[in-house]
Amino acid sequence: MTGLLLVNSLCKRFGGLVAVDSVSFEVIAGRVTAVIGPNGAGKTTLFNLISGTIPPTSGQILFAGQNITGHAPEKVAAQGLVRTFQLVQLFQNLSVEENVKVGCHLHTRGGVLAALFRPRWAREEERAVEANARELLEFVGLADVAEASAATLPYGQQRLLEIARALAARPKLLLLDEPAAGLNREETQQLSSVIRRISERGTTVLLIEHDMTLVMNTADAIVVLDFGCKIAEGAPEDIRTNPAVIEAYLGGVEGISSVTGDNRKVVADE
């Protein structure tokens, strides 16, 4: 049980607003950790801080023993921490397969000369990239549409493609920013099975999610944020009955049954 990611009293202020208020938690290698919280709790800001999209005001982020606080996103990605986006950010001008191939960027090489003269190593590398892309598309169930333009995919498949593309970068830690947003029930089920299988492959996952079904089905550990502060942390069954969490989500009204009972879309904030 080692902490792959250590977040240490992380703060982010936007003017007078404290979006993330000295949050500390750790992500254990091999687990699926979920960050939940009502809208405006600071979840996405937290993700942006971890992935280097914005620098923190104070605090520290340690990833695989390295201090990555304030590093640029491409540097963070090179360390093995790869994220997806709340609003899917595909390369619309490329095919499905090419999108995944772009994901292989970090562990391939070759610039202008390799492109023009195609030495043997470059051709072999290209074949490996192709095989890797095919394998990942198979993994998320998009092998049939490999040749299609990424822009033509239905939303649910676009999400899966973004995940396949992130996996192509061979992350040690995969950050998923609301992967179930905009998905229907079946798509969400498919997604949670993909997340479970990613975890089984040995990739650690940290996700932000509103969809409680997904969180309860996939997460091994949950961190709860409210108004930028961490209010709870623990196993799903503890979080489900935690009074502070219920208070944050449902404003103290009787909602315990809906949280503990049929755990579909309890969250009334979207």
Binding site: A77, V82, R83, A115, R118
Partner: protein, 331 residues
């Protein structure tokens, strides 16, 4: 069960067929371009020089396409790089008596150095700001060409520039120039195709698609913008140098704003972001005024009308017309 499998197989087969038909159609614009070049080569006449210019522009626009079409950036200043290399070639061969090949190589090298110095800070800008900055680069290059009379001879220009050639061989005929330029343009377009389907090309296209996503996958966005800018500048430099050796004369007007205008028209008419687009666009746009010569006073009007029709019926350019024919056009 068996029936189901057969149906699936049939579906796969028809999909494959339409796929190969599509691929064939995708080649069509390129084939038409090559056919026009062959036709003029055999037919001869003054069209040979016109198409030769078209091929030089094809190189220039291919570079521009790498930067704008693939990488999704804007540059109104590529004419500056053509000017630097063109003048370098002209001055080195006339004033200093250099051979054409080393002068051309030096011209491109100088272009790359300037593009690096200019591009490093300028590429931090985005969208309109980048467009303005690059426009300024083009205007500055023009002013320098006009004012630095001791070297460029100002508006007078430099004449008597030796024709293309190497090791004592010189290309003196128009047909020879056309053949050579066709070869160079072919290599230029081929190189762009190789780049597009490589790790480099994918990274460039990723930058155009989403900078955030590209960075999240470890792509150094600034680096790939600069690389695309440098490659585009090299194409522009090559085109600029070839031009002065084919024409034998250079003046500031050659690389004026109208060059940018023409190149943009070619890029959009041919099809931005496609491989054959720049070649097709360059040849068609260079030939259009010739086609309408018989319209006399109405020549410009006819030219304008054709451009508008092209933009209406082939908004993604001529190179994407094959999509229309194969019934796979998307809005």
């Amino acid at each position: 069960m068996r029936l189901h499998a057969t149906i699936l197989q049939l579906k796969a087969m028809t999909a494959q067929q339409s796929g190969s038909r599509r691929r064939l159609l995708a080649w069509l614009p390129g084939v038409i371009g090559v056919a026009i070049v062959l036709y003029t080569f055999i037919g001869g006449g003054y069209l040979v020089s016109v198409v030769s210019f078209g091929l030089i522009y094809a190189l220039f626009v291919t570079g521009l396409n790498l930067f704008m079409g693939y990488t999704g950036q804007v540059s109104f200043g590529q004419n500056a790089f053509a000017a630097i290399s063109g003048y370098m070639s002209a001055v080195l061969t006339t004033t200093y008596g250099w051979g054409v090949a080393p002068a051309l190589a030096c011209g491109i090298a100088a272009t790359l150095v300037v593009a690096l110095v200019v591009g490093y800070p300028a590429l931090r800008l985005k969208g309109h700001y980048l467009a303005m900055a690059t426009l300024a680069i083009g205007l500055i290059a023009y002013e320098v060409a006009v004012q630095w009379q001791s070297v460029t001879q100002g508006y007078m220009g430099i004449s008597g520039i030796p024709p293309l050639g190497v090791f004592g061989y010189e290309i003196t005929s128009d047909r020879g120039n056309l053949a050579f330029l066709a070869l160079v343009a072919g290599l230029g377009v081929g190189a762009a195709a190789l780049i597009r389907h490589s790790r480099l090309g994918r990274a460039m296209t990723a930058v155009a698609g989403s900078e955030d996503a590209a960075r999240a996958l470890g792509i150094d966005v600034a680096r790939y913008k600069l690389l695309a800018f440098l490659i585009a500048a090299a194409y522009a430099g090559l085109a600029g140098s070839l031009f002065v050796h084919v024409v034998g004369f250079v003046s500031p007007e050659v690389y004026g704003l109208h060059m940018v205008n023409l190149a943009f028209t070619m890029l959009y008419v041919g099809g931005i972001g496609t491989i054959a687009g720049p070649l097709v666009g360059a040849i068609i746009i260079i030939l259009l005024p010739e086609t309408f010569r018989s319209f006399r006073d109405y020549q410009d009007m006819a030219y304008g009308a054709v451009l508008i029709l092209l933009l209406i019926y082939a908004p993604r350019g001529l190179a994407s017309l094959s999509d229309l024919w194969s019934g796979r056009a998307r809005g």
